[in-house]
Symmetry: C2
Subunit: 455 residues, 2 copies
């Protein structure tokens, strides 16, 4: 670690009052979600049975670049925002790199990750509409913890389907949700049709985000005055997460720098979009040439090895068809510790941007991610979430390129969460027991071949 | 929770540059530590074999009220300080109390507790002196995690004896220490004379802070260029922790209030002294009449049911004799989850203050502490450490008195750490499986009767 340090905070008056909606500035807009039965583009009203109405409208809003943040949400943001932008001198010194490395520290939120930025917004809009119960899925448990907290803030009942592998690997996350008053069930469960279908075929199935989403949607549809919420993938989630990048932009200006690269880990796209899109608007509109790099796990490589096509967002096919880079909604990711990255597809905005060459993606092996995480912990003093370790590994790769060339590039990455609830994974890494998982080309091709071709 | 909120931060230039040493302002100074063999008062030099010299001098300094904080320590403080002072509107509303409740949130430090304030100072002074290795004990693991981090900052090797019950109850804390690069051993261990002596008599002994201290001292004495460090009890630790209260004093002024009560949980006294002493100086010097309340576990009640006399700080009797409220150094506390409070004695400053009626103590049952912790989590959104739950329970008791009388008293308590690594304890509480432990008067009397009478 270094006793040199620099953290940048915003004054309360500088905390953004609007979210940024990149859809409005994209030349090629994301293609619309389709009704699976008719293949007709969905309107916001079609989403009302599942989502709060304002969230459905935000989802499909391709006109308005700026969306006002409601006051009660801003009030709650002030509990933990602005989050610090940190110059990572310790990491730079450990790497011996001339690169300037910055990270945005979203781990300081009360629930330990960026997920709260959208959870508060989603709980608020549901409450405003008179909804009393909300459901969701969670992978690593970060989103579930955030939604449990947000539900308590706005007086909603909350039920969470936690992917079984995480439920067992990370029992503390379940406890956190329960301490905040939520109901938590391991997915696949016997409480839904979707869960039963999986367990009937494979009683030891360890679950996936795709399965848990199906279960949460099913519960929402079958419960009075209940709506479903999603922690990533969807465009309205990236919208809420734009607070990260909007703050970071002001904070980078305080540091007198502008990023050459913006890096984030990638599960469904919410923390990536959150930090990247506000900077990307200057590429789209002001001729900036920042690179945007999504770091995904090698065992779930939808961006680097998936295919762009219409697919379902969940296993059971309850969602609309979404235009996405996907490994196929039947893809069952390996049991890596970065549970938040175990998702078969990418959000529609990111998928369009990647298709158009406006961003890049890299895949990171599980062992490399933890190697990066331990180096970060020992040089910056923060134990990162397994998901965030992927961003750190990608940032280190880029910093090492700078070391080779001598270039003083400015690298910004998002530290999406802390890893204090994931210490069993660090245990395994430190003991040399961590496994890497390969996905074969055949497996990807076979899975994709099962999909109905819409485009 | 409440969307009303108020957090107070200090500008970087307002972060204190000096620690406060209450010994200088006490009319009745703490009696000196004694050499156990000669019963002669110790001089600083007598402590040099165990402690870094500057720490030994600070320990016995009864003259200087203000001690300059070295620049490298201040630089590291800036990573997480000032910590927020929070007006607990959510808790107030949940209680329906007219009291104004504030808490100082030390859980935001990189290691999740106030312990880092002293760990950084102790690691720094050892490094300055050319020490290469440091040892310590840890109860809940908060201190061990902090020292592991601080050792990494200043380039020291660190070995930690973790009380066995915590080592097993809280494996994640061990992992955190190891991730920061420290060596961790469960205590009692077979690696020291003191540990072997315990295990020979009682192979299933679950350890205590007193035993772990003996082991850590033994390792320090028998290792070249190695010193011992302690996370509480001693006066120099309270000195470093005074940063908490000094900041809180300025932050309460920002809020336009001054506390009628200052409350903290109590193990050895470091977080209590840290928040209380800076305010207490205005009782001692300026005629203020603030009440100071230490909240200890009912299962380890040295302040409320112990006896003031000279006793050893550790089980094996390696430490000097210290004038303290004690249950006897042979006292083996029940296996409560608040591992940081499982200590038989109180620091010499607090013991003198309690003897002189300048502060109060209350005991809190384990079940009451978690009841308070869950209410706090659900009303303020932060899951408190089991230790901190005791402070919250005491604060709630006082707030409820205000509800009965209608008085708008101002209550300040220290949230010494978060409980994210203690979720198994919350699990047990929520499942109704948490046990309360009674200490009988006979047990206390029998244990105290074994002590050699020095005063």
């Amino acid at each position: 670690m270094s006793t040199r340090q620099k953290r940048y905070f915003l004054a309360e008056s500088e905390i953004p009052t609007e979210w940024y909606n990149i859809q409005a500035d994209m030349v090629n807009k994301p293609m619309p979600p389709l009704n699976p039965a008719t293949k007709e583009p969905l309107k916001a009203e079609d989403l009302f049975p599942i989502f709060a109405e304002e969230l459905a409208r935000q989802e499909l809003n391709q006109q308005d670049p700026w969306i006002h943040i409601p006051e009660p949400v801003r009030d709650m943001y002030k509990y933990y925002r602005s989050t610090p932008l940190v110059r990572a001198y310790g990491l730079e010194e450990a790497l011996g790199t001339p690169a300037h490395i910055y990270f945005k520290n979203e781990s300081v939120s009360p629930v330990g990750s960026h997920k709260l930025n959208s959870a508060l917004a989603q709980a608020y809009y549901n409450k405003e509409q008179g909804v009393t119960n909300i459901t969701t899925e969670t992978g690593a448990g970060q989103w579930g913890a955030a939604l449990s907290y947000a539900a308590k803030v706005f007086g909603l009942e909350c039920a969470v389907y936690q992917v079984k592998i995480s439920y067992n690997q990370k029992p503390y996350r379940r406890s956190i949700m329960q301490t905040f008053g939520a109901t938590v069930e391991a997915s696949p469960s016997m409480s839904t049709r979707a869960g039963k279908d999986v367990l009937t075929v494979d009683p030891n199935n360890q679950g996936s985000l795709g399965t848990a989403i199906s279960e949460a949607i099913e519960l929402a549809i079958s419960t009075p005055n209940c709506k479903y919420t999603l922690g990533s993938v969807l465009s309205h989630v990236s919208l809420h997460q734009s607070i990260i990048g909007l703050e970071a932009e002001k904070q980078m200006a305080m540091a007198g720098e502008y990023p050459d690269m913006v890096i984030a880990c990638f599960g469904g796209g919410s923390n990536f979009g959150g930090i990247a899109f506000p900077f990307m608007r200057h590429n789209l509109k002001d001729g900036k040439q920042t690179r945007f790099i999504a770091a995904e796990p090698a065992s779930c490589p939808k961006l680097t090895r998936g295919q762009f096509q219409y697919d379902f967002g969940d296993l059971a096919g309850y969602t609309p068809l979404l235009p996405m880079f996907t490994l196929g909604h039947n893809f069952m990711p390996a049991n890596i510790h970065a549970g938040g990255l175990r998702y078969h597809g990418a959000g529609t905005i990111v998928s369009q941007l990647l298709k158009d060459g406006l961003m890049e993606a890299v895949d990171i092996k599980q062992s490399d991610s933890f190697k990066a995480g331990v180096l970060f912990a020992r040089s910056e003093g923060i134990i990162p979430a397994p998901e965030s370790c992927h961003a750190i590994a990608a940032a280190i790769q880029e910093a090492n390129k700078c070391t080779a060339t001598g270039e003083e590039k400015v690298i910004l990455f998002n530290l999406s969460g802390h890893g204090l609830i994931d210490m069993s994974a660090y245990d395994q890494y430190l003991a040399g027991n961590l496994q890497d998982y390969e996905v074969t080309d055949e497996e990807v091709a076979r899975n994709l071949a099962q999909l109905e071709k819409v485009i």
